[in-house]
Amino acid sequence: MLEAHQLGFQFLSGEPLLSGISLTLRAGQWVGLSGDSGAGKSTLGKLLAGYLTPQAGEITLAGMALPDSGIQPVQWLPQSPELSVNPRWRVGRILREAWTPSEAQCQAFGIHPRWLSRYPQSLSGGELQRVCVLRALAPGIRFLIADEISTMLDPITQVELWQALQQEAENRQLGVLVISHDSALLKRLCPQRFHLSSGQLKPW
């Protein structure tokens, strides 16, 4: 269980962005998070994945602090896949950075074998996002923070990607926090949803 207790965060030169945020994400659970631009959704995602350190409160995983080193059980999937990959690496190397997915897994995520020998610049944002999602599903991962990962995909690819992710999450009992502006998508995927506004979480 991933728990955030009374989280508070502000950037160095700014007003408090998040205050008193408490959130629980259980194994196999899908939780949706919406909010206006600049409300702090991505910041909350980064805090939960350990990319940022909260100034108040704590984040625990099964009652313990997030590990300092080694593979992180909470993985953050950012919005821009172009920035999430080393532009000097071929796609095959990027995909296998932490683990080697099977052919069936590649197929499920719509990753074509011929992409693997190409450089990321020659793939579209949507194609690259699928590679990034599968790369993050390394063994040992227990929670995913999916931060607007399907924004740049066409509707059919969106459906394929979410179906593949749902299947993988069900098989491995992964907890997923879906961050999106798309309320229809959140209603479809997540039984439990929150709206982030003025630094506070409100269920909807």
Partner: protein, 266 residues
């Protein structure tokens, strides 16, 4: 007017420099004794068909000595620039490991940049007893700070890239991130940095030798030739200083041009 692509210009520049350097190196096998052969009947002879660039006070052919001097400067410059780049890269990489190491490296860079180059060069070359090795070490340990500052800044910027954070989150070590993600990005910077260091290195080698702190007077270095020429300039023996000086200028300009073309192309 259609302008050539930066890569094409860089390739052209690289080819011209490679031919020049190839010729310089080949000439050292062909001119084994011409460099030191004395002709007492032709001492201080001006440039002519017989003595292309004239002769020095001992009747040695100046064209052979200039070529030998340029070849020596090339090797000294190469080794000093390479060593300097390695120092810069190692310290920049070290600075990324912790804030304390970064502060230490920054302090070292600022300290070295605040000391006049030539004084430090002379002190180090003198302390090491002069000679080729001393010149290479002195030039190398005084020329890395500017490149180290650029590489350190580049590394700090790269460290903020999301894919670097993701790699760490995927369980990759700091060492993996350094050699797998960060250092390959720095190779073009290192190549251009080394090429930019090279002209400085050979100019400082010549300056050190000219001032008597560098290579041995028995070696046909450009600095030695220029120092010898100083004694005869008042007598109107202009060729003793002009041709070695022009040769050095040509080599420096060639490498400056190559490095600026490569910087645009990479």
């Amino acid at each position: 007017m259609i302008t050539p692509q930066p890569r094409l210009r860089a390739m052209l520049s690289l080819s011209i420099t490679a031919v020049f350097i190839g010729g310089l190196i080949a000439s050292q096998w062909l001119l084994t004794d011409s460099v030191q052969r004395m002709q007492f009947g032709a001492r201080l002879a001006p440039p002519s068909l017989e003595h292309w660039l004239g002769t020095d006070a001992l009747g040695r052919e100046l064209w052979a000595r200039t070529l030998a001097g340029l070849a020596l400067s090339f090797w000294v410059g190469c080794l000093a620039a390479l060593l300097s780049t390695l120092i810069a890269l190692s310290l920049a990489a070290l600075a990324t490991l912790s804030a304390r190491l970064d502060a230490l490296v920054s302090l070292l860079i600022d300290t070295l940049l605040s000391v006049p180059h030539l004084i430090l060069l002379m002190l180090i070359a003198f302390a090491l007893g002069g000679g080729t090795q001393a010149v290479i070490i002195a030039v190398a340990v005084t020329h890395w700070p500017s490149l180290a500052r650029v590489l350190r800044a580049e590394l700090w910027q790269l460290r903020q890239a999301p894919y670097v954070h993701i790699s760490r989150a995927l369980g990759k070590s700091r060492w993996f991130v350094l050699h797998g993600h960060l250092l390959p990005h720095l190779l073009p910077h290192c190549l251009v940095g080394a090429l930019l260091l090279f002209p400085h290195a050979i100019l400082h080698e010549a300056a050190l030798t000219f001032l008597g702190f560098g290579l041995s007077p028995s070696q046909p270095a450009i600095g030695v030739l220029l120092a010898e020429a100083m004694r005869y300039l008042n007598g109107g023996y202009w060729w003793l200083g002009v041709f070695p000086g022009l040769g050095l200028l040509l080599m420096v300009l060639m490498f400056e041009r190559l490095s600026s073309q490569l910087r645009r192309a990479l």
